[in-house]
Symmetry: C2
Amino acid sequence: MRAISSISFSGQLEDKITAAAENGFDAIELFREDIIGFEGTPDDIGPFAREAGIKILSLQSLRDFEGLTGAARTEALARAEKFLDLAQRIGAEMLILCANTRADSNAAGALEDLRLLADMAASRGLKVGYEALASSRQITSVTAAYEAVKAVGRANFGLVIGTVHLFASASGSLEDALATLREIEPKDIFLVHLADTPTTRIDPALIAASFRLFPGQGTLPVAALYSQLVVQGFEGPLSIETFNDQIRSLPATRIAEDAMRAFHLLEETHARGAHPRSDVQAPGLVEFTAQGEDADDFIRLFTALGFAKTHENGAVSLWRQGQITLALNTAARGLAHSIYLVQGASVSGVGLVVNDMPLMLDRIGRFHGEAVELAEPYGLARLRGPGGSVLFLQPEAFTPGSEFTATGAKPGDGLTHIDHVAQALQPNLFLSGLLFYRATFDLRAHELRDVLDPHGTVHSRTLVNDSAAFRMSLNASFGAGTTTQRFLGKSGFAPFHHIALASDEIFGLAAKMEPQDLLSVPANYYEDLALRFDLAPDFIARLREGNLMYDRDERGTYLQLYTRAINGFFFEVVERRGYTGMGAANAPVRMLAQLREIEAEEALHLL
Amino acid sequence: MRAISSISFSGQLEDKITAAAENGFDAIELFREDIIGFEGTPDDIGPFAREAGIKILSLQSLRDFEGLTGAARTEALARAEKFLDLAQRIGAEMLILCANTRADSNAAGALEDLRLLADMAASRGLKVGYEALASSRQITSVTAAYEAVKAVGRANFGLVIGTVHLFASASGSLEDALATLREIEPKDIFLVHLADTPTTRIDPALIAASFRLFPGQGTLPVAALYSQLVVQGFEGPLSIETFNDQIRSLPATRIAEDAMRAFHLLEETHARGAHPRSDVQAPGLVEFTAQGEDADDFIRLFTALGFAKTHENGAVSLWRQGQITLALNTAARGLAHSIYLVQGASVSGVGLVVNDMPLMLDRIGRFHGEAVELAEPYGLARLRGPGGSVLFLQPEAFTPGSEFTATGAKPGDGLTHIDHVAQALQPNLFLSGLLFYRATFDLRAHELRDVLDPHGTVHSRTLVNDSAAFRMSLNASFGAGTTTQRFLGKSGFAPFHHIALASDEIFGLAAKMEPQDLLSVPANYYEDLALRFDLAPDFIARLREGNLMYDRDERGTYLQLYTRAINGFFFEVVERRGYTGMGAANAPVRMLAQLREIEAEEALHLL
């Protein structure tokens, strides 16, 4: 059973219930605090949910109940009675009980209290789910909570397991977490709370409070736990319970969509071996939308990079080189033009090469059911990605159809293929976008990396597929002055920020390009290179001459060249000699150089 | 000597050097990466800084140098040579060396390498400062680094201490940190890096990388370390070295101003006993700017709350009750009107009661030298606070001068004084505003608290003075949909979000007020109260009747009533019966109720 907790959502309770129901959840857990925001009485919630088509799984959460003495115990029992009343009124199946965190709670008497609660619940037809917290006084681990559940010995008293807490109890070891699960009878588990975390380098209590993500958005192997539960025969409810400011700043519907996508990704990962999948390759086609002078600017840049105009179809021209096709769409209608109207000259679509189209379309349908449309004049399937960006699905290297007229020009050669693409997202869409790409195209996400922009920090995650044939980076930043955020300031949707083209002879290309088409690398960069790497002075001189940047990892070296920007978008040319990264060490220098360009341009606008 | 590291700043190196010099810093440390962004050659940096009037203290940082063998050692020595060359070229006094983090570094040979480096530096007239890192392989603590410094035994080889690292080494214990310092000869300390942290619940390495604040902005007792260093006779350079996205999103000049304010606060805290200070009391005067219908709205609300118009002076009317004066300024000129033009009807000034005006003006001059102006028609000093907000300084309870004509009306009674004020700030100004209030008015800051808004999280810190006579909360949020951020969307500056008025008979006031002047509390709030507290049903019924909220802490109880909002601003009336908090538990419910109001209002605007 796929469930979600109301705490994962933004908005009012009505929005939360409706969004969960409409996105296919079977059940919702209700935080006590969320009931306050319901317009009707608590008794109206059950019928409202039934009407929406969703069950009320639980009331969250009775706290600080068991193991107290004297007046505190009397108060706790009275409070428990009220919570059970409320659970019954809202039509929940179960009351969640968090293990007592009070300093004056004892192990002695706790079992008796738990049995009493179970019996009070049973008389109302309710179950009780018992959950250990890191901050609990006696019951701090899943194992301890399970011991208590067995000792209580009531059929309506069971275990609640949270994935974040399970990992923290296991000190981050997947093996230990799986071993803990294996010791537990599936029938004793009443509920599993699913959440991921961005890092394990934060105190577990702080993660619990502020840094919980949907499975797949963080770095915990939640999928492995999910698989283990399935293998053990667990058939009870799994509920996504997150707490995160970025997630909660989205509308409830979007949150529910993403949460359901996270479920599907868990299920697909579990069934991974069972059915065949389609892989993706490096993008082959990139469409640009532009008008007037901006269109001329793109043509100048395409030409400078060695692309030749091989085909035309009305307002759409194709510029080809190696496996790359750049389409320049200057039509005054259609989706590309809509994008132009909103954000000016920009990328209006990126085409991913899909190995097996029917399998991929099936996967897309499964993951987010977004309609795939036909993109003309290319005759390709089109999908809308994060922030409204446009993705084409190419069955193979793009070949212009008969609707295009050949110009007779030969494609350029030098650049071979697209190395990677970079997309910028508003910070509140970062996690959502990450999940979109992971789920849709079966990508793995590297750990979060922070890149220093002169005016803030750009958060970046690299996504790759197993074959490393497809690479992209997703970037977001909170600072309004960063190059990423300035680009987004101009860009309503489709925010592909730059595209990296692969070359086998970057020095030759650099020698041919005019300085005004290149981003000017600060001279002191080359002084700094000499400090960082043991490079021959004449090699550094050649780099400087070509405005090239350099990086190295344990596998090889990397050469980079950046073009000037058009409305914030730019190309990168890279020559990869065994190197596996994306040149992140050079990104701050690139941002600094672009900042100078932006400021020079802004100064001109003031004239 | 007051210094700052270039990593603390945003922008290009030229901006950083200039901002540091103009704000009174004696010296700046240069991160290697920042040199890349300098327009001239490295040799031009020294003259540029001299011209600006500031010294180059150090080059940061040589890493992974000592204790290597074979080719790695040869490479490290060549690299060290280049770093020393660069330090000399930029005119630095010192090269910072971070203790080796490489897995293949050994204790054996390390001392010899350090001596060699010291001698290489000495031949260039340079010093070397040695700093332990949490991630270092052999030298992980300040004490270990100090042992190494003594063992090296070179006059130009000394210790670099970082406050964040010192606390982490001492497992957060101030006593242990001070004990570590006491063991160190001041002459052996070449440099102290000052930084604070928001929480100690994050891995030290992560704090070092992303969560360093200016002293006074976080929760570490940096001032106690500072005092100890002064007492021990340390006279060497102290340098603020932070790394934080919020700070770096501000302009370099603002960063330098705040950093210098942090220095002054450390110095003032150290000298605390030595010179007398002025305390502040609860605000007495609040000025509102409004025109037309909004002015009528305020008058209606003032009247509903029991204020009477006692004085007039042209377009300014005074509404008084207890120790509170509300001024309504409808003039079409002056600062209040400027504020009206930018953000509409709003608070245009809050008057703090100052016990000793000359002492306070002296303190203000010392801390930020901001010009204090005369605010007419009140005859009060006026200071500009965070986000451009306006603060009046009242010498005592405000008494209208002869420029005001008495209306003959008697002041209201019921409300006694202002309990607290709440200010909303854009997230990148949150830390800066916190430091402003702490420094200017000698306030203490409680720990950060996160309040759940229906559409995100509101970060809140409470500021109080020793006598608890003055209380305020500062609030910020990243989510665009939170009530705080929606308010700021309307509010260019002077963003006082609400003002809490103290009452001794809140039930009486609630009974007199019309429902349309009050924020309507959701009915289920009272259901929830019955769950949380053991309250008599008829007491809950009285709360519900009055639209009152309730909270309790170990010291007493708290009753709250909220008015409707005018352009996002609202009053709160509180009755405090021993309770010391600010009713944070009720804030999410208030935000939810306001969200409904906002949405209803927005729906009307669409008609």
